[in-house]
Amino acid sequence: MQIYKIPESLRKDTNFTFCAGCGHGVAIRSLCECIDELNLREKALAMVGVGCSAFLYHFLNIDSLECPHGRATAEAAGAKRVNPDKFVFTYQGDGDFAAIGLTESFYAGIRGENITTICINNNNYGMTGGQMGPTTLIGQVTTTTPYGRSAELNGYPLKIAEHIAMLEGTAFSARVSLDSVPNIIKAKEAIKKACEVQVKKLGFGFVEILSSCPTNWRMTPYEANEHIREKVVKEFPLGIFKNILEK
């Protein structure tokens, strides 16, 4: 029998403040379980992005630095370089990682920074109320694309994990989803590998997590998970795109 308990890496005195059905809580819990299982909590340093992900440091039982929007991987690089024995990870949204922070993010992979990044892809800027972001689907209605995202006007959604996988210094890159229990289990496995490559000093570990945003998608939590299965994974296929652990 397995007894449910709160991971040591989560604070016990706070509750998640995310919207109903939001994937952040599951992602954070999975990450914290991995950190516990790899016995990294006491040497972990969290570099927290701006957006809904910024709430992270309220919940973590881990030292945390609030980073400017998009700059978490640069701050993580600075922290890891002077503290090579610490476990340094970033937690960012897709807007933070792949729009405003794209240069810093890519360079984490280009230089092979020995850090781990978790990037929540929810197809919009959630914190500011659901505007179009780098991963918004073609045709998706957001507050800044009221007629749906048009490729002609706004270009195309960015396939983050595939691009990160192409970089020499990337050790692990995967896209996972939180839409169902089997996928949550797979997501945790991927997060663990992205942590392990750092412990083994192999390079940049990256996981892009497809996560629902029912509030801004104007859906119920159930509909939002259906939407991920029916629409989102067609644009953003799940999979491991690079894994030098199994080379």
Partner: protein
């Protein structure tokens, strides 16, 4: 004492190394690239961190990551690229992080040109980042001071947990003159009670700048300004030259103060009672001392290699005293005779026979 012929940029680089800088993050730009080239040679050999950053945005944020986790970081840059760091500097002030930035000024606005300038006085002293904050600014006037004030920059950054600028320019940066690499003269400052080092056997620490409530924010900023008050009371540095009996005082900073000194000598030979005043710390600004001098001096002339930036701080300090200005757009030098002519013109109202 052994003097070597040392270039200003190299002086800053070696002095940073001697001050215990354990991580340097930067992107190249003229006229300061020698700092990165020199440290690129010595940092890896000493097992210290050197990262050629992908941009100045990245380099200042790498400094933040290093400083927040117990490192002793420095970055260096110039003018249009210091502009890119303003967001990071605002965060570093809000999060109270010890970061040293060597700013070697070239001409602006825009790409400007690569000649020496003092047009980034406002950029350093007033800042271009958002919010209420102050950065300590030290302005060396020669190569020896590049060494001494780089040491001091690291000390003050750690003592006050605040970013510190070394505001040099292309002239001092590229000039060689005799100087000595002295030993870092300051005590070590313990940071173990605030850095992020892993929540082992203690509550987790958060270094942040976001305030959830107005009250929380007000308290946060109030605390910052209490610190700035202490800095203003204790860390003002300036240099004086013949100010005791001066009717006219020429105020200048950094490299230009050398020519101002030459001009003062020349004027004195011609019987004009001129003195020179040089703020070394541009923040905190030596306002009190200038006000004191305004009680005896009849006139101030502010000389700058820009269109008039420090003059605003001088005007505030001297509270209504007469202030003239000599300067020109960055990228050009004011020579001794030009300053002498300006002093003579200003002196016209004071001395009947000039």
């Amino acid at each position: 004492m052994t003097l070597d012929l040392i270039k200003g940029n190299i002086a800053i680089a070696q002095a940073a190394f001697d001050a215990g800088c354990n991580s340097y993050f930067a992107y190249p730009i003229t006229p300061q690239s020698e700092i990165g080239e020199y440290l690129g040679a010595i940092m890896p050999k000493a097992n210290r961190v050197y990262v050629c950053a992908e941009s100045e945005i990245a380099s200042i944020n790498m400094c933040i990551g290093s400083a927040a986790t117990g490192g002793t970081p420095m970055t260096s840059s110039s003018s249009c690229a210091i502009s890119l760091m303003q967001e990071g500097l605002s965060y570093a002030c809000a999060q109270e992080l010890p970061i040293v930035v060597a700013s070697v000024m070239r001409a602006g606005p825009g790409l400007g040109n690569i000649y020496p300038s003092q047009a980034d006085y406002n950029q350093a002293v007033k800042g271009g980042g958002n919010g209420d904050y102050n950065i300590i600014v030290l302005a060396p006037g020669n190569v020896q001071e590049c060494i001494d004030y780089t040491h001091r920059a690291f000390y003050l950054a750690k003592k006050y947990r605040n970013p510190v600028f070394i505001l040099s320019d292309g002239l001092i940066g590229q000039m060689m003159e005799p100087a000595e690499f002295t030993k870092y003269p300051y005590e070590d400052i313990d940071n173990s009670d605030w850095i992020l080092s892993g929540a082992k056997g203690r509550e987790p620490r958060i270094i942040r700048s976001l305030s959830e409530t107005g009250e929380m924010h007000h308290e946060r900023v109030k605390k910052l300004f209490q610190k700035y008050k202490t800095i203003e009371e204790n860390e003002v540095l300036y240099k004086e030259y013949f100010t005791d009996d001066a009717d006219i005082i020429v105020v200048s900073f950094g490299s230009l103060s050398r020519n101002v000194k030459g001009a003062v000598k020349k004027c004195r030979e011609q019987g004009i009672k001129v003195g020179a005043f040089r703020p070394v710390t541009l923040y905190p600004f030596p306002s009190k001392k200038l006000y004191e001098l305004s009680k005896t001096a009849k006139k101030f002339i502010v000389a700058e290699m820009n269109m008039g930036q420090m003059i605003n701080d001088v005007k505030v300090a001297v509270k209504g005293a007469d202030v003239d200005f000599i300067g020109r757009s960055a990228g050009d030098w004011l020579d001794i005779d030009e300053i002498v002519d300006c002093v003579k013109e200003s002196a016209g109202g004071i001395y009947a026979n000039i």
